[in-house]
Amino acid sequence: MKLIKFLITGIVFGIVMAKSEAISWYRIQEMFRFQAFHMYGIIGVAVVMGALGVWLIKKYHIRDYSGNPIAFYPKDKSVIRYLVGGTIFGMGWALSGACPGPMVVNIGYGYFAMAIVFFFAIVGTYLYGLIKDKLPH
């Protein structure tokens, strides 16, 4: 049962997303209107803790559970794909109030309308795959 640890980690993720209200459309609106610190606090603490941990992993060459060094792969250097893709993503995020993770947490919570959003997110990914070579990257 090598996969059970991912199931449990996913359950914790779902609970954190729901209990922190990060899955709420209202919270995303509040964030994009700069009217509360809540979402910035969540992302900010995660990034500061994350950066500290990644620095320690690199400094002490920490290995994963199977003994392999934990590796980080630099993403391709570009501006256009990150900026344009990111902007399209952000518009969808503010409209539907959910990024991909929170979509499925919402479905589990009982907001079945999010299944429509999630289905079309899959369709959107498919459309990207279809026209990928015609887009500037």
Partner: protein, 185 residues
């Protein structure tokens, strides 16, 4: 204790746990990036036949689909065992801004104006949900990641591409919130 975990969780505790989730996945030899699942699902249902982008060994990504199933279950646990019927306590300014758009003050976690039965089965409501989803799915793959892959994993690794993507996330969010939403609602 029970009340402590059923009430909504603070930003610092939640943010801390998200970094723990990222570290756990790194320790398991993987990385935290949720939107990859969208590509994996396309591949698993045979999209590789029509687009090369989906022609890869998706079975190597099953661990992330299991994580996704866990996330659904986490949502269900939050709505049952850990349930809290308090409305989301957003700021007064947000409540009055949203009222101008015709969205009432929160009564639960999500607005029924968007996710309620009547909204879903209206043309406008359906278009909002479907176009929102399309943009998230298309944009996350074009940008090479979503909030987890870029804003959390990428920024933690001090990657410039992720910083550019996050700037894009916010640019898009601000355009939608401040310019387009008044025309949509």
């Amino acid at each position: 204790m029970h009340e402590f975990i059923t009430q909504s969780w603070s930003w610092w505790f939640s943010g801390f746990l998200i970094s723990v989730i990222m570290f756990l996945l790194l320790y398991f030899g993987k990385s935290f990036g949720f939107s990859s699942n969208l590509r994996t699902i396309c591949a698993a249902v045979g999209a590789g036949k029509t687009a090369k982008f989906f022609d890869f060994n998706w079975k190597g990504q099953i661990w992330n689909l299991v994580f996704l199933v866990g996330a659904i279950l986490g949502g269900t646990i939050s709505a049952t065992v850990l349930r809290n019927d308090e409305p989301v306590r957003i700021s007064k300014e947000t409540i009055s801004d949203l009222m101008e758009l015709g969205i009432a003050a929160p009564e639960s976690l999500q607005p029924s104006e968007l996710f309620g039965f009547d909204a879903v089965f209206s043309l406008k409501g359906f278009l909002i949900l479907s176009i929102g989803g399309l943009m998230v799915g298309f944009g996350s793959r074009y940008a090479g990641g979503c909030t987890s892959g870029h804003a959390i994993s990428g920024l933690s690794d001090l990657q410039i591409p992720s910083l550019i993507a996050v700037v894009g996330f916010f640019a898009g969010g601000l355009i939608m919130t401040h310019i387009l939403l008044p025309f949509i609602f």
